[in-house]
Amino acid sequence: KTTVEFWYSGGTKPQIMMKKLIKEFNQSQDQYTIVPSLQGNYTETYQKLQAGLASGTAPALTLLRGDRAKIMNDRHLVEDLRPLMTPSFHWDDFLGAFRKQVTDKDGMIFGLPAYGTTQILYYNKHILAKYGFTKKDLSTWQSLAKVAKAVTQKNSDGQVTFYGWEPMWGAGNLMDAAYSNGGRVISKDGKKILFDSPQWITVWDSFRKWIHKDHIMRIHSGGQGWEYWYKTIDDVMKDRALGYTGSSGDQGDLNFNKLAATIQPGWGNHPAAPEASALVLQIPKGTSKAKAKGAFAFMTFYTDAKNTAAWSMYTGYIPVRKSAEKDADYQAFVKDHPQALVPLEQTKLATPLFTDPTKGKIIDALRIAADQVEVQNIPAATALKQAARTAQRALDRANRQH
């Protein structure tokens, strides 16, 4: 029997589901054994993978975030999956956006989308209704702000007891909103940093105003691991906020008797254009033929229509195959759980994943700028211009070197 080491990570529900699927796979055939190794989170998987590759101890299969999967390919560290695809595999059945995400300009397929994720809105439908608003009122950030303002409550000391909205801490939400205002991180030719443009500054400064001046939104920051994330969810669940911007993967944890989901708002007249991406299964370079075959066999199993649908139902993440929607169980599920379709819907208008050509310096600059705007109440112009300078230097350097 060929053993295939598999490094992965995920929240509790994904963990449970992953274990179940691995067990099923191992029992379904007697050629391969998947040996899973749970990592702390996606980042840790990536870190360890670097070390593993450097020392020749990398596993045969990894689950990585999309941007990192791309970097792995840029650095020529992954196997091409095309030779492993049999005609029965139906690559075409995968969602186009996700297919595009793992195909490089030479046509090489450097990974298989495992499940999709994107940030959507979750809100308390009863309270929204109570104030006489509907889902429509959440379709642009401007109108969302109006709603937020209307529902925000303060006590006699002027302290806010109920917030209108809670964006998620970090650059992600702000970037999504900037995309929705037509912003880009880098120019098409890959030479110029663009996030100090007015599109970005307007968007980011609006958030700053909503958070720090109007006090209709709030940010939970810092803490351990996902701590801020759950504090945010908690506020919504415990009636301290109307809604929040969160991951498709949150669905498994949420109570939809109370909440509802919808896609992210556009900015003014611009339609919404948030990022959507797939988590990617990859076979690191240097994996033996036999192991690679085994790894691919598992990928095939894991992403078949039935399983990707089951995964989606249990965790809330987006199924990666079009055919999943035809799965009977899934169809029944989405009837009962309309929110499950929201991420999928959003994926259709999504901006493709931004991959950092400087291997992290641009993202780091944006992260710090986001912190300054969201947490420290520094004007977006200042923060973004400073970040752009840093990023531009890094970008120039990266371009020079290639």
Partner: protein, 306 residues
Amino acid sequence: MGLLLKGILVTTSIQANTQQVHLSHKTPWLTLKHVQQAAKYLFLSACGLFMVFPFLWMFFGSLKTNDEIFSNPLELLPQHFHWYNFVETMQSAPFGLYIFNSFEVALFTTLLVLANSSLFAYALTRFTFRGKTAMFSLVMASYMLPAAVTYVPSYIVLAKLGLLDTHAGLILSNAASVFGVFYLRQVFLKIHPSLIEAARIDGASELKILWAIVLPQCKAALTTLGLITFITNYNSYMWPSLVINTADKNLIATGIRQFFIAQGNYGLNWSHIMAASTIAVVPLLILFMISQKIILSGIADNGIKE
């Protein structure tokens, strides 16, 4: 700073007190000395509370329910003692195994460090050889090197040795304690050379002298160094989490953080995390209790050269 100043002033007058000089008249019922004593205890108790508070909170937090923890931080004691939290925590992750792993790695690292630091320090203090100063400078320079700086190349070295994801790898890579050499060197320097000469005349080999004459006299220092090394390695987080991949081989610090992250669903159970932290600390507390007499006096007796 204010507290500090007060502390010093109180103390200097206490030093005068040890000479038992009565500045005042016969025997008033409340002397300046009494007031000073009371002030000293009060001050120390306040500081002591500050120092142990986090432990207490952690411990009592582990006995609270999740909501209780956040409801009123000023309330230290739980309404009900939920001892079951510990059982649940122990069941939810193999903490026993993690602690065992930490113990194993820390113990062997400590033994190795004690052995090789002793040998090295002995050679530095009792042999004359060319390059001795250079050798010592090398050790001292390494002291200024942040461990993190060495991670990448060290990792590759371990890989080349085939020791990745093994406890042996961890032990070996932590086996050079610069502090150990530095500390033992100072301690050995204080042993009168005539003792070593007497033993040489008695016909003992150098190893025998180290073992039978030098080390027994440095028990306090060795215990101190041992405990320091043990604690550092038991608690170590970064490096083990890089080297170890297999969950069953994790050390406790990684284990706790893993537990944190693995709790990665909404409704993070803080009391379990507190319980896990408490469980991790308890073995060290016990070890500290046992050896505190030695460690506290040990540094005092054999402290670094003055």
